[in-house]
Amino acid sequence: MVKKNSETKKEEQKVVREPTGYRGKLRTRLEKEGIGVWSQVRVKKGDALYEGVILPRSQHTTEGYLVLKVDTGYNIGVKITEDTTIEEYGYKEGKYKLPDISVTFKDHLPNVTLLGTGGTVASRLDYRTGAVLPAFTPEELFSAVPELIDICNLTPKKIYSLLSENFKPEFWVKTAEAVMKEFKSGADGVIIGHGTDTMSYTGSALSFMFQNLAAPVVLVGSQRSSDRPSSDGPLNIINASHIAGYADMAEVVLCMHGGTSDSYNLIHRGTRVRKMHSSRRDAFRTISDIPLGVIDANQKVTFLKDDVKRRGDIADTWIDTKIDPKVTILYFYPGMNPDTLDAIIDKDYHGVVFVGTGLGHVNTDMYPALSRAQEEEIPICIVVEPLYGFTNLRVYETGRDMLAKGVFEGANMLPSTAYAKMIWTLGHTRDVKEVEKIMTTNIAGEITNKEMNKGYMLMQGVEPGLDELLKKINPNPREHTWPGSKEK
């Protein structure tokens, strides 16, 4: 640490002025005048005088503007014209760092590892894109969420720094291996920090990969960015830590807000959960079932399902990570041209998850392509566009025709789950009959043999009694803790 500091000092002495992010004429001009980011400048344009620190310019913004942080802390953009003068009078570099908290592990607390993949609880600004980047060291994490210190001995490790849309099936394998490594090193539970967009895909994949899982694997993220004081991230990570450290459960789960309030989180089975809103905290919902459990504002866990797999001996746990990612998802719509499926066959895909309408139907135009897939031994798993409910290709003639052309029903698997399962299955066999057998057998809760009434709780806002429900506040809120008074 000390060394690093002296290095930075040296750099400052060199007085390198880099106009980071500035382009075109303005960049040339700044370089020529030896002015760059963090320069304190006076900009004169006609009667107007602007004074402030030059900030890096983000990409995808208009050329020719200088961004200044002025004395009040605000940023402004000034259009630089030829008769504008820029005069440097100082230099003030911004250093972005959460204050360190030194942490000593306590024997009586469980050991939990937090594997970072890109989802964050603390983050910082990226001047290049103007977007948010994760800040991810143990010290930063504890500084941002000090409550964690008293919950478990948490070791954060970064395995990659990825936006979740950039995930690939290969990363599921690496993630599973990383989790396994932690279990072997004595972790009582593992948390995976993950971008929320594809979190349920990873959840599904890991569910299939872990065999005889003996401890919890908890995926967690934040829907509202962690650079805001209202972020759901901190509470999510607190709850996830609690589940990973203490809950008597041994499954791959997602732990995210249950409602818009910071009052309880839901524990979703990795294979049954779906992101149902682009931005809300409570976007994650278990589909066609109720969640596995709930964790309240004081971290009390209640399981709601009686088939929760309990903790066991970690020595029995192993991972089966054979995969074949040459799988695609097709989404059927009226007028869909069969050349979409043909193209996939031409491109030598090994398996298809086909999202059919209603009970799982596609149009008759698609039949020749289906037959072709059958001939070329490409398994096609049908799931339903409505997301809720089962496929059934025996009710209507279309369905029966489709079955005759070799497709098989994916029961009530979610499209994302069926996709991850197909990839995993094809890693084990290319035999179409064998694939169908594995795909249609429940392995990790992805297929339920019944749907309970509460499995379909899509409220429309008009249900009697709902208005009263929406007005209620949490009767069991967080007990107040006083971070300031703990330090005595």
Partner: protein
């Protein structure tokens, strides 16, 4: 007692600035498409949140934010479907900001002489952890810098103009202030914030004038929204040797001077206390975080379950805590208020050593309230801490004569938290005035609200890219600028001898152009025009008359009639009423209906003679009093009689003057 009237602001090195927050007139909220309307009654839904600080752009936690976090608020929101959407719930990123609102900001910048307009607007986030904003930050953008308003021949600079979203409305607090309720309707309404330069103002009167000019500009330009609660003002005040203190929530500009005086007194006393501590060779390290349990010194029945009483030493603070820093408020109380706000221990469970005296301010106040039979929370310690117990406590705490102490009662963690805050605050005493944001109390004193927010709580909004403005369009907005309040003021003073107070009223009521038209186009007397528009019509509106039925031509006709002597000016109200009731009615008809006619001097003379003879004949009244002057009673009676008989066609004053003159004549003859 502190004498505020003796404060010489200039001598004290008084400096002050004001922040005017004013809602502006737009069709939608700033970052979503909800209507900017207030909602009432039972909310459609509720939800709750907790907040924690995040790093500022330069990489630091803001000190003020950490203190806010320590308060540990549970925040409960009340939301209505007609004024709130998922954006205010902080469940979705913002929509593109309302361009109309941003351009209104630029227009206002032209009105207020801003020179440095922003070419590219960067939306920033300003952290607030009190729950008043669901995101935990206010989205705000600076649109211009370096403006000014003229105050008594000098330029008072306005440093910044921002356009930002308004916060939620606080409803109430519970659980010792730890649970806060907000109504979300106001959140996201666009407002402008105008900030004057702290260094340019050395007396409260000038600051008041600047604030009024800004408010009047918002009214004249039509940029400001009208109605209750659309404006909030915060001031910042410092004196020489003190520090800039922010005072939130000035309700009434007329209380300004008093507010300022109380803050000056406070800072002055805090500086004196720092000097006294230095004299006592006090060092900060003498203040230790050693909290001593004193529970067993008190009878058990006085202490609620799960609670403890603790004491803490304040070396060399003896007799300083009782010093009056604002009228009827001592230094110890200032510390107690801060400890209460952060820890949640109510002030009635806190006590400082100088409150052993019978004349301690809080004791006196309790006495007054008791006498008035008002409900209040009695301090737990006042009856319990006797001289004997005080001695015992001082012994246990190992205090010397010049030392002081604090006591607190509550759950242990809360008490420890409160004591920690007391020590922190006491340490600051050596530096005089702490940088604080304070809030005004009903008596114009103030109390701690939060540590002053620094610039580290500001960072760019990652949800909205910088907005390049249409520079041409901004330039064109200059054309919308018309006469500014100070220009109206000068013009009305010089041309019509109408003073600032009258100008202020006319701008507020949006009547100033009408009054000027009456004066200029219809060549009428300025004072009469003002009086008719501002006083007479206002009175009529209060009586329920729809004065909008009176066109400017009819108005001019009525005033002119009085000026030409067709009737007395005191009749214009009645004439106006008649015409409002039937706008088609001609003035002649109205006069006839009201039986108003011109009274000639001869007729007046006749009426006087009749009234006088009646009085002297039947009542035997004497014209002159014993000392030879006019008998006032007889003058009044004669005037009354004449007024009745002329049906008010002539003004009381004219008649009275006439009567006096005639009586005078009678006596001297």
């Amino acid at each position: 007692m502190l004498d505020l009237t003796k404060i010489d602001f200039k001598k004290m090195g008084f400096r002050a600035g004001i922040e005017v927050h004013h809602q502006i007139n737009t069709k939608r909220k700033l970052f979503c498409h909800c209507k900017p309307v207030l909602s009432h009654g039972e909310p459609d839904y509720r939800f709750e949140r907790y907040f924690r600080p995040v790093l500022g752009e330069m990489g630091d936690f803001d000190e003020g934010m950490l203190i806010e976090y320590e308060k540990g608020y549970r925040v409960i929101y009340h939301a209505y479907e007609d004024s709130v959407c998922v954006y205010e719930q902080d469940e979705q990123p913002p929509f593109w900001p309302d361009n109309e609102a941003i351009y209104l900001g630029f227009e206002l910048a032209h009105w207020l002489n801003f020179s440095a307009l922003v070419d590219e607007v960067v939306v920033s986030r300003k952290q607030y952890l009190d729950g008043s904003i669901t995101t935990g930050f206010q989205r705000t953008m600076i649109v211009a810098r370096d403006g000014w308003v003229p105050i008594r021949g000098k330029k008072l600079r306005i440093s910044n103009l921002t356009v930002e979203e308004d916060s939620a409305r606080k409803i109430k607090t519970e659980n010792f202030g730890r649970t806060v309720y907000y109504n979300l309707d106001r959140l996201g309404m666009p407002l402008v914030e105008v900030i004057t330069d702290h260094n340019d103002c050395d007396n409260p009167q000038d600051l008041q004038r600047a604030a009024e000019y800004i408010g009047l500009t918002l009214r004249l330009s039509g940029i400001g929204k009208r109605g209750l609660g659309v404006v909030r003002q915060d001031v910042n005040i410092s004196i020489r040797g003190g520090h800039r203190v922010e005072l939130k929530g000035v309700q009434d500009l007329s209380t300004f001077v008093d507010l300022a005086a109380r803050e000056v007194a406070r800072q002055d006393m805090l500086i004196k206390i720092a000097a006294m501590l230095k004299e006592r060779i006090f060092k900060k390290k003498e203040l230790e975080h050693t909290y001593i349990d004193l529970t067993d010194k008190f009878a058990e029945k006085n202490i609620p379950k799960n609670s403890v009483i603790m004491g803490i030493r304040l070396p060399k603070f003896g007799n300083l805590l009782g010093l009056e820093i604002q009228p009827s408020k001592d230094f110890g109380q200032d510390i107690i208020e801060k400890a209460e706000l952060i820890s949640g221990i109510p002030r009635s469970n806190l006590f400082h050593s100088d409150e052993i005296y019978k004349k301690a301010f809080r004791k006196l106040r309790e006495k007054t309230l008791r006498k008035r039979k008002e409900q209040f929370q009695e301090n737990i310690f006042f009856p319990l801490v006797t001289d004997k117990l005080d001695k015992d406590i001082r012994k246990t705490l190992k205090l010397k004569k010049e030392d002081g102490y604090f006591l607190a009662l509550g759950p242990q963690t809360w008490v420890v938290h409160a004591m920690k805050k007391i020590i922190e605050r006491a340490k600051m005493a050596l530096d005089g005035v702490p940088l604080e944001t304070r809030r005004f109390l009903p008596d114009n004193n103030s109390e701690f609200l939060r540590v002053i927010h620094g610039q580290d709580r500001l960072y760019p909004d990652t949800d909205t890219p910088p907005i390049d403005m249409d520079i041409q369009k901004i330039e064109e907005l200059k054309k919308k600028v018309q006469k500014r309040p100070w220009e109206w003021e000068t013009e009305f003073k010089e041309k019509y001898d109408l003073d600032y107070l009258k100008v202020k009223a006319m701008i507020r009521h949006e009547t100033i152009t009408t009054v000027q038209d009456l004066i200029e186009k219809f060549k009428l007397n300025p004072k009469k025009c003002y009086c008719f528009i501002e006083e007479i019509l206002l009175a009529l509106r209060r009586e329920g008359f729809d004065t909008s039925k009176l066109t400017i031509e009819r108005t001019a006709e009525i005033i002119k009639g009085a000026e030409d002597g067709v009737y007395d000016f005191n009749q214009v109200s009645n004439i106006a009423k008649t015409i409002i009731n039937d706008p088609q009615k001609s003035l002649k008809q109205a006069l006839s209906d009201l039986k108003i006619r011109k009274i000639s001097d001869t007729e007046l003379q006749k009426l006087f003679a009749e009234a006088l003879s009646q009085l002297t004949k039947f009542k035997d009244e004497k014209i002159a009093a014993k000392d030879g002057s006019i008998n006032n009673r007889i003058a009044d009676k004669i005037t009354g009689t004449i007024m009745r008989r002329t049906n008010g066609s002539i003004s009381g004053k004219t008649v009275y003057d006439f009567v006096l003159e005639k009586l005078e004549g009678k006596i001297s003859s």
